[in-house]
Symmetry: C2
Subunit: 121 residues, 2 copies
């Protein structure tokens, strides 16, 4: 039966950067949490839109023509096909992700940071 998922409690179990953990599943999508710091890789997702929600700190999302700052209490939706690079300004940032189950966080880019087998928290 459904029970409440406490985000702070889940974040406290994450001790690696750029390693999303699954906390929920609905309609073929995963809800994931991640702690991030510094720079990720440029990538895009051919078929999947991606939602980012910020719980702590400021996520900086680079696009090819601009950078969008996403602060605590804010959401950003990156449409499929749009190249982007998440990063932070040296601080650790807590984000929630919402995307289809088949989405790899590095999209179409194979990279040492790619985590292929996501784990549940």
């Amino acid at each position: 039966m459904p029970s409440a998922i406490n985000l702070s409690e889940k974040y406290s179990q994450i001790n690696q950067h750029w390693t999303p953990k699954i906390i929920g599943e609905l309609n073929g999508q995963y809800v994931k949490l991640a702690k991030i710091k510094d720079e990720f890789v440029w990538h895009s997702h051919q078929n999947e839109d991606e939602l980012f929600q910020v719980f702590k700190g400021t996520l900086l999302m680079d696009f090819r023509d601009k950078t969008v700052a996403v602060r605590e209490g804010e959401i950003l939706i990156v449409p499929k096909g749009v190249e982007h690079r998440p990063r932070t300004n040296g601080e650790e940032v807590f984000i929630l992700l919402f995307e289809p189950k088949e989405t790899l966080h590095t999209g179409d880019v194979e990279h040492e940071k790619t985590v292929k087998q996501l784990q549940w928290l």
Copy 2:
């Protein structure tokens, strides 16, 4: 191009209870915000799972065999087919919803509270 969506700013534009407003769309799903107070109607969604996230106050979700309290910073996923009734203990509660575009908030129940044409904020 993508831009950040500030949830507090969006909530400040909502002045009716039980009237979800759309703030984003991805992968055939809507992100919606709502302010709720007191009791909604018992219903279920035959084909759609539904996510609730609480931003202010405590959401009480009645199921036929128990009630789950969902507090600020917590998430609840209600699987398809499971009867539920959202309510609050007299306070105004701010929630975020994530569900397929075709989902009606009263599910399979036709009710005076049913809002069929959701609006964007």
